[in-house]
């Protein structure tokens, strides 16, 4: 088990990508030093350890940085793999490929769509982005049916890689509901995702790591002041 001095995480409380990594570390029972970043005023530390993208999360292990949240989750799974800590990725190569495919899909298609809702300048733009988000979620509903095989999570009986990849976005859906009265995952359209979201929210492995919606609302307002004209 890593000593605290060996492992640091540069993060932002409300970043779903950071939350995802924190959930992975928590599943492995690994302790680390968490250093909150101000993404509107980037620190020398962040720029030094992620000069290419200057983004969080950055995991620093024995002084070496690892960037890009999905690469970090795979790293964590490999370094703290075997034995007692649960495996995050499935064992079977085909299931691994499927989990990675949908995780990439979440980041490439779902994230830009819901961020678009948050940043929309006009009602028209917001409606379009909501529509895009719903279309993507319909595909993820089908993915859940195939991946879960009738079980509770994408990963089967317990939370896995794809649960983390999608689940870390859920608190933002609640935030958007509060701010704009939009319902993104609902029982009518995506019943499997709706009940999965409930189970994910209650899962012991990840429960305490979901930030307060108030914090996300505050961050969203700041983002809109900076980015929306």
């Amino acid at each position: 088990m890593a000593r605290e001095g060996d492992l640091k995480l540069l993060g932002l409380v409300v970043s779903p990508f950071v939350v995802r990594v924190r959930m992975a570390l928590s599943m492995k029972g690994v302790s680390y030093e968490y250093i909150e970043q101000d993404v509107f005023n980037k620190s020398e530390l962040l720029i030094r350890y992620n000069p290419v993208h200057k983004k969080v999360p950055v995991l620093i292990h024995h002084g070496k940085p690892i960037c890009e949240s999905l690469a970090i989750v795979e790293y964590v799974d490999e370094v703290w793999g075997g034995g007692a800590p649960p495996s995050i990725l499935p064992a079977d190569p085909y299931e691994r490929a499927t989990a990675r495919f949908w995780a990439t899909y979440v980041d490439d298609k779902l994230f830009p769509a819901w961020i678009g809702v948050m940043k929309a300048a006009t009602e028209e733009e917001k409606a379009e982005k909501v529509s895009q988000t719903l279309a993507v979620l319909l595909h993820l509903e089908e993915a859940f049916a195939k991946c879960s095989n009738g079980k509770a999570f994408f990963g089967g009986d317990s939370v896995g890689y794809l649960d983390l990849a999608l689940g870390c976005n859920l608190f933002w859906f609640e935030t958007l509901r509060e701010m704009f009265d939009v319902e993104l995952i609902d029982e009518g359209r995506t019943p499997l995702l709706a009940s999965w979201a409930q189970r994910f929210g209650e899962a012991a492995a990840v429960k305490d790591l979901v930030p307060n919606v108030d914090k996300a609302v505050e961050h969203a307002k700041k983002m809109r002041r900076v980015f929306v004209h």
Partner: protein, 230 residues
């Protein structure tokens, strides 16, 4: 008896090449099914309904595996043979990081820079492409290939760059990279395309030049239309 492997691809695609070279390095026999992407087959649309793109890997009866870099990882994990990704977890994380970087930051600016009519817009993309190439150049210091002494995952991820620097420069008549710029990358492009296994699944250069020359007008039309919407 080994389950049959089929690869749905299209001529000249660096993405399809990634999957082919991975299969060959593992010594896995496969059937290559070439698509005409202007007239996609029912087979392709059925197996990749989300992205409708190539490559698509079919291994036995399993549902399709899509997305070229994921296919390479699958091939590495599902078949015996020399490892395609590094063994060490940190090196693996680095390889995945830089492959993502190439996908997100390199492919588009170069593609746009090659085919845009508007000189000013082209310059913007050339500048961006060169900034990103400088970062890739630094990854080759002291190494023959991105993966080390032999080709690996990150070299396959970068294979499109070899196409851009060679064949596409000839087809467009545009040398976006000066002769004294990025010596390590230009040397890498030559070494990569002459490597034995890579060469065996790359069409001859003249064929690639002819293929892209034939598509030139269509590509320019699409790229310039896209640029107007940006």
């Amino acid at each position: 008896m080994a389950e049959p492997v089929k690869l749905i691809g299209t001529f000249g695609s660096p993405f399809v090449h990634r999957a082919e070279v991975a299969l060959r390095l593992k010594g896995v026999p496969y059937e290559l099914i070439l698509e005409d992407l202007t007239n996609k087959s029912e087979l392709l649309l059925r197996h990749n309904p989300i992205h409708k793109s190539v490559p698509v890997l079919l291994h036995g009866d399993r549902p399709a595996i899509c997305e070229s870099l994921l296919i390479v990882e699958y091939i590495d994990e599902a078949f015996d043979g020399p490892p395609l990704l590094p063994i060490d977890p940190y090196d693996r994380a680095m390889a995945r990081f830089w492959a993502q970087f190439i996908e997100q930051k390199c492919a588009k600016p170069f593609w746009m820079a090659l085919w845009l009519n508007d000189g000013d817009k082209r310059e913007v993309f050339v500048k961006e492409a060169k900034e990103n190439m400088a970062l890739l150049e630094s990854r080759l210091h002291g190494k023959r290939f991105f993966a080390g002494d032999t080709v690996g995952y990150l070299d396959f991820a970068a294979c499109g760059l070899a196409l851009v620097l060679g064949v596409l420069a000839e087809v467009t008549g545009l040398s976006l990279v000066g002769e004294d710029e990025f010596p390590l990358l230009r040397r890498w492009a030559d070494d990569y395309t002459s490597e034995e296994t890579v060469k065996a699944c790359l069409p001859p250069r003249e064929q690639l030049v002819a293929h892209f020359s034939g598509k030139k007008d269509r590509i320019k039309l699409a790229v310039n239309a896209m640029a107007c919407q940006m």
